[in-house]
Amino acid sequence: MTIIKADLVVIGGGPAGMAAALEAKKSGLNNIIILERDKELGGILQQCIHNGFGLHIFGEELTGPEYAWRFIKEVEASDITCKLNTMVLDISPDRVITVVNQEDGLIKIEAGAIVLAMGCRERTRGALNIPGARPAGIYTAGSAQRLVNMEGYLPGKKFVILGSGDIGLIMARRLTLEGVEVKMVCELLPYSGGLTRNIVQCLEDFNIPLKLSHTITQIHGRERVEGVTVSQVDESRKPIPGTEEYVECDTLLLSVGLIPENELSKESGIQLDPVTGGPLVNEAMETSMDGVFACGNAVQVHDLVDYVTQESRVAGRSAAEYVLHGQTDDTGTIHTVPGSGIRYIVPQQIRRGHGAKLFFRVTNVFTNTSIVIQCDDKILYTAKKLKVAPGEMETVELPPEKLAGLDGALTVSLVPNS
C-alpha cells in the first residue's frame, strides 16, 4: 500500500479546516494536506446561501459561499495539497491515517500533526422516535437546504417544520420565497433557539406561525407524508392530552439539533466531552491524543462562522508549533468548570502559563444577569448582560497574566444582578 508523509493533515475542507491549514502555512509548515469528502472545498457554507457571515472577520455581511471563497482563494493560491472526494477511514495512535479516494485508491498518510475539522451532523427523526410509518417526505432541514440550494430540487409543496433553530427558520423563508406553503414552525421549548433577526425576517415577514411549547406526536401517511399531529407540551416537555391538532402537509423538516461529527475521534480513543459531543481540548485546541488538534463544529456547534475561523487559526498555529518545536513541557493544567447557568465551556482545560479564549453557552434565557469568572476565590472577570440565551454563544478572552499563578478550577457562572 502506498504510504506518503505530510507535516500536517487537516481532515475537513470547510471553513474550519481551511483556516487551520492556512494558519499552519503562515506559521511555517510546508507539507500540508487537506482531506475533503465532498467534491469541492467550502463545507456547509456552500449550501448556506443566506447572508450574515463575516461581520467580525471581514467587517462585511457575506453569504456563506462568498465567505468560503475568501478562504478557498487563498488555499488554491498556496501549495497546500487538497484531496477531494476523499474519505478518512482510520487514524492510528501514531497518527497514520488510512484514506481512500478514486484517484489514489487506498493509501496511508503519516502525519506530523492532525487537525480534526469534520464539522457536525443533524439529529434525525429516528433519534426523536416520532411515531408513524416511514413515508417519503421527511428530511432534516440541512438535507432539504442542500437539495434546494445546490441540487436544485423542491422537496415538497406543503411543509411543517419542527424546531425553531436558525436552520429551520432559514428554510422556512427559503421555501416560502420559492412559492411553497410553510404552514407552521413548531418548537418544543417555550423559546426559540434562533436569532431574533431570523424570527422577524423568516417567520414574521411571511406570517408563518411559530408554535412554542409544541411538538409533533405523529406522522401520517404510508407512501408519502399526508399530515402530522401537533401537540402542546407542558413544563416537562410532555405532550398534553387533548391538545392534538392535525395539520395537513406533504413534507416534514426536522431542525432539532446539531451533533459534532466525531466517529473518527471516538474510534481513535480521543476523549470526548459528553456535553459538547466534541473532543476535550486545551487552549491550544489540542485533544487528548498527542499531536491531534480539533476545531470548528467538530469541537462545539457554533452560531457564527467568524468564531469558527478564530478557533481554527489557534488550532492551525498550535499544530504548526507542535511539528516545528515539539511537545511543550507539561506544567499542569487548570480545568474550566461550568457553574450556575452555564451549560459547557470550551476549552475544557488551560495549560498553566497560557491565556485562553473561552467559548461557552448558557442553560436558559436569562435577563439582567452577570457573567462571573473566578478561580481560587479570586474574581477574574465580570460583565453585566441584559440578556443571554442558549442560542447565542458567549466568548471571553483571558490573557496569560490574568491566569498566572492560579491553581484550582476556573469556574464560569451567571449571577443575577441585584
Binding site: K39, N51, A68, Q102, M150, E151, E178, T196, Q201, E392
Partner: protein, 128 residues
Amino acid sequence: METKRTIICTVCPRGCKIDVTMDGGRIKDMKGFTCKRGEAYAQAECIAPVRTLTTTMRIIGAGLPVIPVKSQSPVPKEKLFDFMKAINSTQVKAPVNVGDIVLANACGTGINIVASRNMPRKDMTARS
C-alpha cells in the same frame, strides 16, 4: 386612521421592542427604542422596509444545476416575490464568477442580482 404595531429591532442582539403608531402612512409616535440605530431601523421598517434577497438561479453547463445569487442592495420588501419570479425566469451559462451580474436592473428597480460563488464550466454527467 391610526394603526399601532410592535417592531422587534434586529440591529443588535438586544432586540428592543419598539411600539409605533402610524397615521395614514406617517409615523405619529414611536417608543421603546434605546439608541439612534434602533430609531432609524423602526422608521425604515414602517415607511419603506427592505430586505436583502438571497436565492438561487438556474445555470447551464456547470457542476451543479443552480448557482447562489443575491441582490446587490436591499430590495423593497413588497417586491420580493416579483424579484423571485424574475430570477426564476432567468438562466445563466457557466462560467460565472462571484460578483458577476446575472440579472441587471431586476424589476426595473435598478437593483442588480449578482452571483455569490464561482461556477466554472463542467460537464455534470462526468464522474469527478
